[in-house]
Symmetry: C2
Subunit: 553 residues, 2 copies
């Protein structure tokens, strides 16, 4: 095992932490994910900084909390000036490449203000989250009566057309729809169609296509600079539909029991109540929906796993395993009906907790291969991990996470006492229904390994779960006076966090320490009465005889 | 009275809120400041966002808390991308000019990262806090054994040379030193020399020089675009020395009694104790120091006042009073021995509270001329005031202050319940002496009009003052159990503030509201079981007959 030359940073979208066989799923089979887990460390308690694509990803890419980078929801632009992975890695001689999805919206106004042209090298990187783009495919070629959700070009859709797929929007018509009994489009947007095979050749579907892009990239990079490659898949994110044979790999018999209780709906926290009663929550709470959707979701994961095997095989046969760090993770989970919820958005484990496996090829990691680390990990830990893996020193005044390298190398570092996550639902209809202003529709989670507090702006009480006694998070203790002390403690912990100097990013702690007591050595003399109060060399700077005396003028 | 065409934004440095005769000082005479107060509104309860030049000014110029902009101490760079006054005013067709001091350090690393050349128009503005520079003079041409405090050029020092002043550093030798009995330099850095006349012709000293620069600017601007001009004086900031005749205008008999008590030193809060015992605190607590320094400080203010009269006379005789908003303020105060302190740094009123007078030429302000407004005002309120005065709508997702225009126009708006200020002393020797890391050496003040809480990071108890019963802030109640409830309430208020979405600057609240419930109209369909669950126009987007059926492939 040698040193790390390259980092393959693989992200799936909406992959639950517990839908890997190595994580204990009783029916899901992920032999290739497990293969990585056997070579690396599986982190079992990993939390995203926000359970929503855009905000979560901006935290992965900046290494900073959402409260710090401000891109708090999908399509809230990441402000110009925020440093991203590329900014941290390029000074180390490492390129940062993107293959797939970022869900990043560029700060066009900020770029215009600073005169950054989108077609300049720097402007293009700023507009693409700091990456050089091998291929950017955000993966939602959705169209409604008011136009497309995403007006960027879709390289995947263009590729489908070049392959002879006949529809204008083959992403929808072929990759994400089946065919019904009448021969009409059976859209994957409709959950009742989930078990139909997608109307596309399997190897033309999104996951194999992106994997092929990655293999092209690997072939192209030979002999070039070291790289981090962010290979970022759209799947198993909805639409929940998958081509044959994956659509029949799993059936209702493989669906694990739902995690919910009738008691959750009684006296529910108003924000939780509103999310349970929105469309995804209602849909996934109906009989038969989980049994239809989850097998498709599992099929999508199986396809991801097979394609991951293709990647591993390639790295092995080309001799790159000794020099490549491999990271596998997701941007958030999926409730899939647990807690009467669909989608993500809130902070129960199915939503906020993610899988994370890291393979470090170096000999120092030999002792931890195949082990599980249960430290409290945050998504923002990856950025400093990458910097350290590449031989750099993480800029701790910018990066708010902690490098995971010590864990990979079998050490037990002093570690954080809590993880934080946030959710800004100000842009959702729910906020309006609850009568909330955009500043009020925000949630914060603090979890200390036992207690999970959800603080809600807008005048609501907090939610509280005790994961020691209630690991399924079925009982919200936030309204009970007997937990006032725990709540107060976690609220204080959240306040401490909120006061952190997150924007003091232009000067390092080390530089600050060197400033201490130095201004007098540069002639700033405050509080001296007479020359005798000064050190001789400083005194000398003040003395002499003026060439002219203007007092009589 | 017409509309506002121009804004003259005058800032003094280290001018205490109570050293104006219109503010009730019993011996200080400021007829020209008072003249402005008679034409405008004097705000009596105005607080800086940080009692230190650099951090405070970055809040004035960005309209944002220090916790938001991150330039938390002198020479901590203001990060590239932070919007400043010029960014808010230029879209309104208003130029933003600088004459004098900003104490801004450019984010050179950030500029290099974004490819912003300092000699480009945009780069120069970013490097100068968003201003176009008429003349930038930060005013501290100090030199010690380890070199100059400020390595930028000093236009004032160059000008002195051009006028024939013979010293290499005439700023020190002439403008800020006297001559002792032996004919040697008597440096103004040494407090014992404060009452000597500075060895310079009065009209060549700093305050008249900068005023002349302003008059040149005014002459040059005739017929050009509307402007905001930030006329930013160095004085009455130390070195405390002033040319004749101002050095003899005031004497020890004019010095008001010191505000301090022996009880303050007993069981003092460790941070307060450390500041009392640093060099400025010790110096100003010695007998005779206040009586020597304060008359010089008052002389400097008197000179500022006279020069302000020169400006007002010019605006009147040139007919510009009807179209010019005039603002007079300071970046922080000066303890001058009160509370056993010198300098600023902490949150007693002499340090954190500033003068603010605003003259609005418009007829709507006629009803408030000569009045005093006691609303809780923050320094960050000026930026939105300027935007509104120029006919714009303040960007409330960026600017954290509130426009003062309603107060100027005799209205009583719903207003804030507390003001906030911060102090980051991580770069001071005191932090090291207290054993604090750079992240711990930080203070926050929250003041609700009665109670002033100072929260200290680093594990210290808070400080608390009740200004209703103790207007001189002589009794720290922060250690007393009977005030636990008040402390808890203010700590919660501080926590609420700290969790604000200060970095969500790339999207306005109005835009967020328009997003609500709109993603489905762009084809993002989550939680629909079948086509009948969709509106007909949306359903139509999903339907049709595919040109090819690939399922058998």
């Amino acid at each position: 095992m040698g040193q790390i030359r390259n980092i393959l940073f693989v992200m799936y979208d909406q992959l639950r932490h517990d839908y890997l066989s190595c994580a204990g799923h009783p029916t899901m089979r992920t032999p290739n994910f497990d293969r990585l887990a056997a070579m690396g460390v599986r982190f079992s308690h990993v939390y995203v900084q926000s359970p929503i694509c855009g905000a979560s990803r901006m935290s992965f890419y900046t290494g900073r909390y959402v409260h710090s980078h401000g891109a708090a929801w999908n399509n809230f632009p990441l402000k110009v000036g925020e440093m991203t992975l590329g900014d941290h890695l390029r000074p180390l001689g490492v390129d940062s490449w993107l293959i797939g999805k970022t869900h990043m919206k560029a700060d066009a106004a900020g770029m215009a203000r600073l005169g950054l042209a989108p077609d300049s090298v720097i402007g293009a990187r700023v507009a693409d989250c700091g990456f050089d783009v091998w291929v950017r495919e955000d993966g939602l070629v959705a169209e409604g009566p008011e136009g497309f959700y995403d007006t960027k070009r879709s390289p995947y859709n263009e590729w489908l057309k070049s392959k002879g797929y006949p529809a204008e929007n083959s992403w929808h018509v072929h990759a994400n729809s089946g065919v019904d009994e009448q021969g009409d489009i059976a859209s994957g947007w409709l959950l009742s169609n989930s078990l139909l095979p997608a109307n596309i050749r399997e190897d033309d579907s999104e996951t194999p296509w992106l994997t092929s892009q990655a293999l092209d990239f690997l072939a192209d990079q030979s002999g070039k600079a070291p790289w981090l490659c962010h290979l970022s898949y759209i799947k198993p994110h909805w639409p929940y539909i998958v081509p044959a044979p994956y659509n029949t790999l799993y059936s209702a018999a493989d669906v694990v029991p739902v995690v919910r209780s009738d008691a959750e709906r009684v006296g529910a926290h108003p924000v939780f109540d509103a999310f349970m009663n929105n469309q995804p929550g209602q849909a996934f709470s109906k009989d038969g929906v989980r049994e239809t959707v989850i097998p498709a979701y599992m099929g999508l994961i199986a396809q991801c796993d097979d394609q991951f095997g293709r990647l591993l095989d390639h790295l092995e046969t080309t001799g790159q395993m000794d020099s490549t760090m491999i990271v596998l993770t997701s941007d958030h989970g999926d409730y899939l009906g647990d807690h009467w919820m669909g989608e993500k958005d809130l902070f129960h484990d199915p939503s906020v907790r993610i899988p994370l496996i890291i393979y470090d090829p170096r000999a120092q990691a030999d002792g931890t291969r195949g082990t599980v680390c249960d430290a409290l990990v945050e998504a923002i830990d990856l950025a400093p991990t990458f910097v350290e893996a590449m031989g750099g020193t993480p800029a701790t005044h910018v990066l708010e996470g902690r490098s995971l390298v010590p864990w990979l190398h079998g050490q037990t570092p002093d570690w954080r006492d809590a993880v934080f996550s946030e959710y800004d639902y100000s842009g959702m209809a729910i906020a309006g229904n609850l009568g909330l202003s955009p500043r009020e529709a925000r949630l914060f989670m603090v979890f200390d390994g036992r207690w999970k507090l959800i603080h809600a702006e807008g005048g609501f009480r907090p939610m509280l779960f005790d994961l020691d006694t209630d690991p399924d998070e079925l009982t919200d203790l936030g309204a009970l006076p007997r937990h006032a002390e725990v709540i107060a403690r976690l609220e204080r912990r959240l306040a401490d966090w909120a006061r952190r100097p997150a924007q003091r990013t232009t000067i390092s702690d080390e530089t600050i320490v060197t400033m201490r007591g130095k201004s007098r050595r540069h002639g700033i003399i405050i509080g001296a009465w007479e020359a005798e109060d000064l050190a001789p060399d400083l005194r000398a700077k003040l003395q002499g005889k003026p060439a002219h005396d203007y007092r009589g003028v």
